[in-house]
């Protein structure tokens, strides 16, 4: 659990460094902080530790999740470019500090052993996100998004807390181990009915965070309103942490009660898949399309949660990593292009703004294409194997109909992802050479190559996960 302590300290240090350091050097320092904490995380490999009065546990699974989350954080910081040159209205030190704090929350969510810790982690992560969403203070849409996110998020947190209370009431414990012990020593008939309500309410609280339908309504508005760099953070870090928690709650803790929650999660999954994919098809804004795409990917990942196979945890890990790399790259390219197009076109985040990108920016266009192909699940990219493993899980569980829906929805997905590729390569437009920083290029290429390597050689990481 040293990374949790380290990241908190780093965040505080970052706040003070803001007085003296320039924004570009702050970026480098923050990167070093995250790399340092990743090293600390990796040091616990192959060990199981209990922390903070047994409220947290680290094992290989939680370390893998932590590493993916911190990798996402690393990419976001590398793509951030020191938050531009606007000295008056952007405060990089604070942003970086908040990013580090929210990483702490995410780490708590992947290694909790006590439901209070889950709640605390979720809140640390969420409150940080509310702030960051509204960080573009002069932009009305950013403010609106922050408020919407906060209102709906607090609603969901309420449900989660209520669920925790009901579970505590019926099992007399907040510890996962205690809950499991009590559940196995009580006859199923004598369990109170509000236990089931508690499980469902906890699930709903978490499903909100990963934007599963019908709790997804905030997602498009918030994703679109927030500054792109924080949208990238939201859609990668929050989603991975959320899935780690969902897996832990539904599959590990309450896996024995699957028959009570499976139908519900099933329907939520299918609605998520359909709503996310179909709604994305009509979008003119690439950023909004990516928001719906994030909803649909939550649907695919929920499939493996429903299947609850021995390979589920490793499949969630693989999918999260593939999705993180691809999403980070696509938002990053979108971000720089939108920055360039601001003032030049009316809607800098639309597909039209990407027209003709390949002509003078071949590397940006290539990276964007690889990312979109991975999101669409085309072979030779990581996204293909992510989907493949998920579908295999479903198949092993004999859940054929959801697979058919998921495959059809993937086909719809190809339509809207390829819209981006068409804009970039086939439509004509005038985009000059866009200058990006060195760190940006490194991050872009590493994520891009990672996507391809995982696509060509999936066993490389599958054997670790």
């Amino acid at each position: 659990m040293t990374p949790v302590i380290a990241l908190s300290l780093f965040g505080i240090i970052n706040l003070f460094l803001g007085f003296t350091f320039k924004r570009q050097s702050l970026q480098v320092v923050t990167l070093l902080f995250i790399i340092c904490s990743m090293a600390l995380t990796a040091m616990d490999w192959n060990h199981e530790y209990l922390w903070f009065g047994d409220m947290m546990k680290t094992n290989n699974l939680s370390i893998n999740f932590s590493l993916i989350i911190q990798l996402a954080g690393l990419l976001v910081v590398a793509f951030s470019n020191g938050f531009g040159k606007d000295e008056v209205y952007t405060q990089p030190a604070e942003y970086y500090a908040i990013l580090l704090f929210s990483l702490v929350g995410a780490l708590l969510m992947v290694s909790f052993q006590n439901l209070i810790m889950l709640f605390v982690g979720l809140e640390i992560l969420s409150v940080a996100m509310y702030v960051l969403t509204g960080s573009d203070k002069r932009n009305l849409r950013s403010n609106e998004a922050a408020l919407k996110y906060f209102l709906m998020g607090s609603f969901a947190t309420g449900f989660l807390l209520f669920g925790i209370a009901l579970v505590y009431g019926s099992t007399r414990s907040l510890y996962i181990s205690g809950i499991l012990y009590n559940l196995s020593h009580t006859a199923p008939e004598s369990l109170p009915s509000f236990l089931y309500a508690g499980i469902i309410l906890m699930g709903i609280g978490l499903l909100f965070k990963i934007s599963a339908a019908p709790f997804h309504f905030w997602t498009p508005d918030v994703y679109e309103g927030a500054p792109t760099i924080f949208t990238m953070f939201m859609s990668t870090v929050v989603k991975t942490a959320g899935f780690a928690a969902i897996y832990h709650i539904l599959d590990v803790t309450f896996g024995g009660f699957q028959k009570n929650w499976i139908i519900t999660v099933y329907f939520i999954t299918i609605i998520t898949l359909i709503l996310g994919n179909i709604s994305a098809a009509y979008q003119q804004s690439a950023k909004r399309m990516l928001a719906f795409s994030s909803i649909s990917h939550a649907g695919y990942m929920l499939l493996t949660v429903c299947a609850n196979q021995p390979s589920t945890s490793s499949n969630i890990l693989y999918y999260s990593l593939a999705y993180t790399l691809a999403t980070a790259v696509s938002f990053a390219v979108l971000m720089v292009v939108a920055e360039y197009q601001t003032g030049r076109t009316e809607k800098p985040e639309n597909f039209d703004a990407l027209n003709g990108l390949a002509k003078n920016n071949p590397s940006l266009a290539f990276a964007f294409t690889v990312a979109l192909l991975s999101l669409a699940g085309i072979p030779l990219t990581a996204g293909f194997w992510g989907k493949f493993f998920v579908f295999t899980d479903m198949f092993n569980k004999n859940l054929t109909y959801p697979i058919i829906i998921a495959v059809l929805m993937s086909a719809v997905g190809i339509y809207y992802y390829f819209k981006g590729i068409i804009s970039v390569y086939f439509n004509s437009g005038e985009i000059e050479k866009i200058e990006t920083s060195f760190l940006f290029k490194i991050a872009l290429w590493s994520a891009c190559i990672g996507t391809l390597v995982l696509g060509i050689y999936p066993t490389l990481l599958k054997s670790i996960f």
């Binding site: 309504f217 709503l275 179909i278 979008q283 719809v412 050689y457």
Partner: protein, 626 residues
């Protein structure tokens, strides 16, 4: 272990450097970067060869895909067969890289050319080093891609691009068969690793072996240009000459033979397929040699000769003479690469003229090319004691015991070979110069970088026979003993051949008599092949390659075009488009409707959320509520 890994890795690195930095590197630097990897790989292969202890060595590289019960590892297998192939590929490959550095020096795509050559060497090494059919297939497809890229290297000319596409498509037809064969292997044995498959076959497992062998052979027909998939190879001569030498003579086209030798356990279990292999080989050998008789393009003659020689190799395989076939693969790599490079030297001197009718009398201006080309011609014609004599004679000797009809026809083919090779040689180098004054002024011997590979290959073509010198002339049959562990037991029996027998004299006669005849006709009488318009009768049919391209065009291309036109205008337009577009429209319109849910009104959002939660809770707790 590590040195084995470096053998294919080095050319890949060469490809990456040259490919990524083209055209920033200057030509000499690109040439050096391109030539070092095959040379180093040759050195490593030689070291492996010398240290080889007779035991097959498997080097696991990675577990590529493992899903469910399917597991596809990628590993390298170092044994007698792959070691020899390594030496041929890297050795001949290095010589051709050196040659290209001079031959291509005026080309603006110099760095790109070396990048492609290195990529080819990488895939070819992967092909022969792989320890299973899947790795073989990756290499197989990779060399196909490189062949495509290099045939169409001068892509400004449309016909070259067409030739490249033709090669690719013809190979794809073969590859389909090959792929089906691999799938069948997975179905039968659950694996495609050589050792596991062959052990299972030896243990008597598996049915459908004949079908599998047949499918694999279809792949070999495409890659090694056998009837009916051979027409791409002559067209492939559109590529730069070093490419023809390396890919379309010495290495890639022998991949089919390598594959059959590798899978000899499988092929031995299906004698009817072996029989088929033999007859296809014979037919190809005869057809190639016959078309070669009257071609006037120096590279076309060599191309048909390659088709014909590959036919001989398959004939040998059909008679289970694996050693003899592999022997011919090796010697053929030497003398055919030599002949192609010699032709390249001539073309270079003649300012890109390829028609032998416009050459003549080049021997004084190109002495080294002349002598080396002569040695190559003697070698391929099968005149002792040059390399081609021993290898071809060994195939013929096996055929004599296998099937006397096949043997007799093969002798005819060998007579044709001798005739057309001497014809080309005499018409090109002897007689009077028939080119333009401009060409005559520019005639020059090629630079040392081009003549050196010629000399090395000429030496190999002359003495190459010693590596499997038969016992009855005092040899120790090194190759036969070397390959023995990987071949079926008893497949190599020492053949007793008597000097005075028909079996020994007929091939000799088939080599000498046509050669003398050709020298008489084109040398002493100074006859020159007729101009295109004057060719008539059967000679015209042969000159026009028996109209096979036209026949294919009529039989396959036209019907397919007609069919695709039909499908396009009827099924595609009326049915598929309608279905797809209405689906698309449906999705779009439903998307438009769903979009309206996203009203932006937070009250509505929360209402939807709460309503959903209420329904879910009611559903979950229905047994308690109702």
């Amino acid at each position: 272990m590590s040195s084995i890994l470096f053998i294919p890795l080095l050319p890949l690195i060469g490809f990456l450097i040259n490919g990524l930095s083209f055209p920033k590197l200057s030509n000499p630097v690109a040439g050096i970067i391109g030539t070092i990897p095959p040379l180093a790989a040759f050195a490593l292969s030689l070291q492996l060869f010398l240290q080889f202890d007779g035991n097959t060595q498997i080097v696991p590289l990675l577990d590529w895909i493992s899903v469910g019960e399917l597991s596809i590892p990628i590993a390298f297998q170092i044994d007698q067969l792959s070691l020899l192939m390594l030496l041929i590929i890297t050795g001949v490959g290095t010589l051709i890289h050196v040659y290209s550095s001079a031959y291509m020096s005026h080309d603006e795509g110099f760095g790109k050319f070396f990048a492609f050559l290195n990529l080819f060497v990488f895939f070819m090494l992967l092909l022969v080093m792989g320890s299973g059919f899947v790795t073989l297939f990756i290499g197989w497809e990779g060399v196909g891609l490189c062949s495509y890229l290099l045939i169409g290297f001068w892509n400004k000319k449309n016909s070259y691009g067409d030739a490249a596409r033709k090669a690719f498509i013809m190979n794809r037809i073969g590859d389909l068969g090959f792929l089906i064969g691999i799938f069948l292997l997975f179905q039968e044995f659950g694996t495609a690793t050589y050792q596991e498959v062959f052990e299972a076959i030896k243990a008597g497992n598996g049915s459908n072996l004949g079908l599998i062998a047949f499918c694999l052979f279809i792949g070999a027909m495409g890659k090694s240009a056998q009837i009916p998939l051979f027409t791409w190879l002559p067209d492939a001569m559109a590529g730069p000459t070093p490419v023809s030498a390396l890919i379309h003579a010495a290495t890639m086209v022998t991949a089919g033979i390598y594959m059959v030798i590798r899978a000899n356990v499988l092929f031995e279990m299906s004698p009817e397929v072996l029989h088929f292999v033999g007859w296809i080989g014979l037919a190809t050998a005869l057809l190639g040699a016959a078309i070669g008789l009257f071609q006037n393009d120096i590279k076309k003659v060599l191309a048909y000769s390659t088709v014909s020689q590959l036919g001989y190799m398959f004939m040998g395989l059909g008679a289970s003479a694996y050693t003899a076939s592999f022997f011919h693969v090796m010697t053929h790599a030497f003398f055919k690469a030599l002949l192609f490079l010699g032709a390249g030297s001539v073309i270079h001197a003649m300012s890109d003229e390829q028609d032998i009718r416009k050459m003549g009398g080049l021997k004084s201006q190109l002495p080294i090319t002349y002598i080396t080309f002569l040695l190559g011609t003697i070698a391929i014609a099968g005149i002792p004691p040059f390399a081609g004599f021993f290898s071809k004679d060994e195939i013929l000797a096996h055929l004599y015991h296998h099937d006397i009809v096949m043997w007799a026809l093969a002798i005819v083919g060998s007579a044709l070979t001798s005739f057309y090779m001497f014809r080309v040689f005499i018409v090109t180098f002897h007689g009077d110069f028939r080119g333009t004054q401009h060409q005559a002024d520019h005639l020059h011997e090629s630079p040392i970088a081009m003549t050196l590979p010629l000399i090395v290959l000429a030496v190999l073509s002359v003495i190459g026979g010693i590596i499997n010198l038969p016992a009855f002339v005092g040899g120790n049959e090194f190759l036969a003993h070397w390959l023995n562990p990987i071949l079926p037991e008893g497949s190599h029996e020492a053949l007793e051949v008597h000097f005075a027998s028909l079996e020994f004299l007929a091939p000799l006669a088939a080599a000498f008599i046509p050669a003398i005849f050709a020298i008489q006709l084109y040398g002493s009488k100074k006859a020159v092949p007729a101009a295109d318009a004057e060719i008539s009768g059967i000679q015209k049919i042969i000159y026009d390659k028996f109209y096979i391209d036209e026949a294919y065009n009529f039989l396959f291309v036209k019907p397919i075009q007609f069919l695709s036109q039909f499908f396009y205008s009827f099924i595609d337009f009326l049915i598929i488009d309608l279905l797809v577009e209405s689906t698309g429209k449906f999705v779009k319109s439903s998307s438009n409707e769903l979009r309206k849910l996203q009203s932006g009104n937070i009250g509505f959002y929360i209402f939807m959320m709460v309503a959903a939660i209420a329904i879910i809770l009611a559903w979950t707790l229905k047994s308690w509520i109702f």
